[in-house]
Subunit: 293 residues, 2 copies
């Protein structure tokens, strides 16, 4: 209400970003700020990077402090909320439930059965039921999403393209089972399906299998493909790739990696292009059937 | 043609067992011998256990010595062939092709594209085209296969049974992709899908994820389920479980393991029962839809 007599009721509401680990929360905050949004970080203790959080208006919070979040977010004029950054599925002991959360406990406990999809849609509902609007990167800053085509100089060859299509088809088949969002396929052989270990560990596993000679395809073949699960809430936990993913794909002897355009976060495309060229891997944004136009 | 003037044309033909690593080849040889079959081992160098091979009529052979195999098998009066024991998919350099194999090279190279199913059906055809009858454990000694019901004292509870059904459903969905034959599911969450690393390493991975707190379900929950792939050649590479699998399932904090009755080799049920009881895991033979009657 200070400078310029801005009327809060007409201004775009503030954006509360509940942020976990990694650099994605800051990429989202910066992109929202560039669009003139007022941003307040709700930094999750144990996950968000304190040094980077310090550069933004912020509140530290424990996972589960829902009343506190609602009170502070309202005081900050935030009705829009985004959830971003890495948090492994919280162990119950890492959550510090406040009173409201304790009242919601039956609902929350039921979220902890089933896979990630189930947990996510439940979290979405929780915010909506309490008057918040949950937004995803797509609504806030679509420029953070992978576009169709190549990042970096290398291109997939015909065999790589066939591997991408096979990987996407497999991801579609496993999607109802609420498993990982990534698989690795080389010369038509499935080398790995991601579980709770995450993409980086899956890549490390394939690198080891290759060293041990348990994979017949030569180094320089194989693709990592990440895709959003069918029916997944796009506002929460879109798959993402960063420079480290690209680096590790190179170390695992893959030809490259592909993600579904429009539903994968690529926060630092320039850095990714540089790393991809150095690691000699391609990075492709493909259609949801795996084709690269 | 010596003792008893036995007429070779009426006698059951000799059985050539091409044997890889592990104890399954000897379990099959013993079971065949108990049924009065004359057995000759063709022990694969680098895979078969020399000490145990020595106890049977045998020839050592390199993978790929197909003419030599045919000559020796014919001289031994073997028209029936079984392939059993662990061999990881051979690297091309581990194969010592003879002349006939070199002539068949285009056909063989094409086997090395695609997953295991493709390789297996090709191997089957190769023997059949050359006048051999390829037999599986089911035809030779059905007593080696898991029967419906429990091995050992422990039983799956309702939650475990639901996990088994989910695991079997997932295996059916991934079956067309020619991946591993095993998955681990705990409280409805998929913890791992087996790739070329094999069952033991997959179990080690889950044990580690559990130690690191990346799996929310408590120790004592979760099932390992192995199933034959749909359309897989049952004569080659049926899934198997041994005492080590059971031991590692216990170490990974699983409640138990289940396999499809009638299409999984369980060579040492008594030892498995003992190990299962000590490791406090159940071992169940289930229907191909995952139900335990």
């Amino acid at each position: 209400m200070s400078e310029g007599m801005q009327d809060a009721s007409n201004a775009e509401p503030g954006l509360a970003i509940i942020c976990g680990g990694g650099s994605l929360p800051f990429a989202l905050a910066d992109a929202a700020a560039r669009r003139g949004r007022r941003v307040v970080l709700f930094a999750l203790r144990g996950w968000a990077d304190p040094q980077r959080v310090a550069g933004y208006p912020h509140h530290w919070t424990w996972m589960g402090q829902f009343s506190r979040f609602m009170r502070l977010a309202a005081a900050e004029g935030c009705r829009d909320v985004a959830l971003i950054g890495s948090v492994s599925r919280p162990s119950l002991w890492r959550i510090r439930p406040d009173l409201r959360v304790l009242r919601l406990m039956p609902q929350i406990l039921s979220l902890f059965r089933g896979g990630d999809d189930h947990l996510q849609s439940g979290i979405g509902r929780l915010f909506e039921q309490n008057g918040f609007r949950l937004l995803g990167p797509k609504e806030i800053a679509p420029e953070l999403l992978m576009s169709h085509g190549l990042v970096g100089a290398r291109e997939p060859n015909a065999r790589d393209r066939a591997d991408i299509v096979r990987a996407v088809t497999l991801l579609n088949a496993t999607s109802p089972f609420d498993i990982g969002q990534a698989v690795i396929v080389a010369e038509n052989q499935v080398l790995a399906v991601e579980g709770p270990e995450g993409t980086d560990r899956m890549l490390a596993r394939v690198a080891e299998l290759r060293r041990n000679g348990r994979i017949r395809s030569a180094a320089g073949t194989g693709v990592l493909v990440k895709a959003v699960k069918i029916g997944q809430d796009h506002r929460i936990d879109l798959p993402s790739i960063g420079p480290q993913t690209v680096e590790m794909a190179g170390a695992a002897g893959l030809a490259g990696l592909a993600v579904v355009a429009g539903s994968t976060i690529v926060a630092e495309p320039e850095r990714i292009a540089a790393v991809a060229d150095r690691a000699k891997v391609f990075v492709a944004g493909v259609d949801d059937d795996g084709t690269l136009r």
